[in-house]
C-alpha cells in the first residue's frame, strides 16, 4: 500500500468519524440523519478497501 493511499485512508477515516459524530450528536431532522447515514455507507466500504 503506497503512502498516498494511506494518507487518503486517513482523510476518509476523519470524514467518516466527523459525519458519524454529527449523525449521533448534532442532527435533529430525520432527513439530515438519513443523509449522514448515506454518506457513511460508501465511506465505510472505502475504509475497508471493499469495491
Amino acid at each position: 500500500m503506497s503512502l498516498t493511499t494511506i494518507v487518503y485512508l486517513v482523510i476518509a477515516a476523519i470524514v467518516f468519524l466527523s459525519v458519524l459524530y454529527n449523525l449521533v450528536t448534532k442532527e435533529e431532522k430525520v432527513v439530515d440523519k438519513i443523509a449522514c447515514a448515506m454518506i457513511l455507507v460508501p465511506l465505510a466500504l472505502r475504509l475497508l478497501m471493499i469495491k
Binding site: 493511499t5 438519513i34 447515514a37 469495491k51
Partner: protein, 399 residues
C-alpha cells in the same frame, strides 16, 4: 416532554444507523464476493499443454491480483507463436469470452498459441459505478451446466491502485523502442483515470502501478519468447467510429488488409474495417507492442450495445443479446448514420460478437502463415463462424 423528544431522536438515529450498517454489510458482501469469484476455465479435454504465471515475466507481479494464468496451446510441430489477450477491458465481454472459447476449443497442430483471457483481472473484479451493468454473465453448456463469468469495469479496481492522479503521464519506462515511427512521441498526458486503463499502460513499468506491471509482463513475455503476433480483443460502443474493425500497427497492416479482403470479406462475408494504429496515441497494445517488440501487433473491435451511451435499461440480457430499443431507434435516424455497426436487426448478440473475433483471429494467424511460412500456425477445431451465428448460443462452444 423534552425527554420524549430526545428519546424519539435516539430511536430514529439508531434505526437509521442500523439501516446504514445493513446496507454497508450487504453491499460489502456482494462486492467482496465478486472480488474473489474465480471463473472456471476448463482445460480438461482442451489442447492446453501447460499453464504459466504472468509473474514469470515480471517478478514484481508475484502474489498480486494481476498474476494471472497464461494458457499454452502447443502444436506437435514447431511453427509460429501468437498471443491472444482477452479481458483488457472487462466491460467488453466478447473479448473475454472469445479468449475463453479459443483456449477451450483451439487445437493447434503446428506452432503455439498463448491465451490470457483475463489480462486485466483487477478490472474483472468490480463494476463501474452508476453504469448499472451486471456483475456476472451466465451461459448454459451443451451438457446443461451453467457457467458464470465476470462482467467487469473498463479500468483496474481502485483497491489495487488508489488514488488516481489528476493527470496520468504515460511513459515507456526503461524500454528501448525498436520500431518507433519518425516524429512519434514516447510520452503522453492523459486524464487521471486512464492510469487504471490496461490499454493505456503499455509497454509497462516493471515496478509501477499494478496495471503497468501487467503491461510490462506482457511486453517482456513477447520479447522473451519471440512471439510473432499479438491480438488484443475488445468491444466498442456502436456509436464509436472504430468498430467491427482490426486496428493494426504499421508492421501488421499488410496481414490485416489481406485477412480482411481475402478471408473475412470474400470467403466468409464478414464486413470489417482495417484501421491504422495512430502513431501518437500512446499506451495501446497495437501501438506500443509494435513499437517495442518484433511482434505483429493487432487489436480487434466489435460493436457492443451494453457499453454504449445510447443504451437503455442495462442488464445481463443486454450484455448477451445486444437487444436494445434505444439503439434500434438510433439505427433508424438518418439511415443509421449515428452508428458504426449495422443495427437494423435490433440486436447484436454475444454469439455473433465472439464469432467475429474468432474468425478474425483465425484469419490473421492464417495470413501470417501465408506471408511468413516460418511463422505458420495451423489450428484445428476453430469454431465455425456461420454455425456460431446460426446457433446464437455461446454456451454450446464452452466445455
Amino acid at each position: 416532554m423534552a425527554s420524549n423528544v430526545k428519546k424519539k431522536g435516539i430511536i430514529s438515529t439508531c434505526v437509521i444507523l442500523a439501516v446504514a450498517i445493513f446496507m454497508a454489510v450487504y453491499a460489502g458482501m456482494s462486492f467482496n464476493k465478486k472480488r474473489n469469484f474465480v471463473e472456471d476455465v476448463v482445460t480438461e479435454g482442451s489442447a492446453v499443454t501447460k499453464t504459466m504465471k504472468l509473474s514469470t515475466y515480471n517478478s514484481y507481479l508475484a502474489n498480486t491480483f494481476g498474476d494471472v494464468d497464461i494458457y499454452v496451446l502447443e502444436g506437435e510441430e514447431p511453427g509460429g507463436q501468437a498471443l491472444i489477450l482477452g479481458g483488457t477491458h472487462a466491460n467488453e465481454p466478447a473479448g473475454h469470452m472469445a479468449a475463453i472459447v479459443m483456449l477451450e476449443q483451439f487445437k493447434p497442430t503446428k506452432g503455439t498459441v498463448y491465451v490470457i483471457p483475463d489480462i486485466c483481472k483487477s478490472g474483472l473484479s468490480h463494476n463501474d459505478p452508476l453504469e448499472g451493468t451486471p456483475q456476472y454473465i451466465h451461459f448454459t453448456t451443451a451438457d446443461g451446466n451453467v457457467r458464470t463469468f465476470h462482467f467487469g469495469s473498463r479500468a483496474s479496481n481502485p483497491i489495487d491502485q488508489w488514488p488516481d492522479p489528476d493527470t496520468y503521464l504515460h511513459t515507456s519506462g526503461d524500454w528501448e523502442p525498436l520500431h518507433l515511427p519518425e516524429n512519434a512521441q514516447t510520452t503522453q498526458t492523459l486524464s487521471g483515470s486512464e492510469v487504471r486503463n490496461q490499454n493505456r499502460c503499455y509497454p509497462g513499468i516493471a515496478n509501477g502501478t499494478l496495471t503497468e506491471k501487467v503491461s510490462y509482463a506482457v511486453t517482456n513475455m513477447i520479447k522473451t519468447l519471440n512471439i510473432d503476433m499479438i491480438i488484443d480483443l475488445h468491444e466498442s460502443s456502436p456509436e464509436y467510429a472504430v468498430n467491427n474493425a482490426i486496428v493494426a500497427h504499421a508492421n501488421a497492416m499488410e496481414i490485416a488488409g489481406m485477412a480482411k479482403a481475402l478471408t473475412l470479406e470474400e470467403e466468409k462475408g464478414i464486413a470489417i474495417k482495417v484501421e491504422p494504429s495512430p502513431i501518437n496515441l500512446r499506451g495501446l497494445t497495437h501501438r506500443e507492442l509494435g513499437d517495442y517488440t518484433d511482434a505483429f501487433a493487432l487489436l480487434c473491435e466489435v460493436g457492443n450495445p451494453s457499453q454504449g451511451r445510447f443504451r437503455g435499461y442495462t442488464d445481463e440480457e443486454l450484455a448477451i443479446t445486444g437487444k436494445d430499443p434505444c439503439y434500434k431507434v438510433a439505427s433508424e435516424i438518418h439511415n443509421g448514420a449515428l452508428l458504426y455497426v449495422d443495427y437494423s436487426s435490433g440486436d447484436f448478440p454475444i454469439s455473433l460478437r465472439v464469432a467475429r473475433h474468432i474468425a478474425t483471429v483465425a484469419a490473421l494467424i492464417d495470413e501470417m502463415g501465408y506471408e511468413y511460412p516460418e511463422k505458420e500456425i495451423i489450428i484445428d477445431n476453430v469454431p465455425d463462424y456461420d454455425e456460431m451465428v446460426a446457433a446464437d448460443d455461446l454456451g454450446l462452444w464452452l466445455r
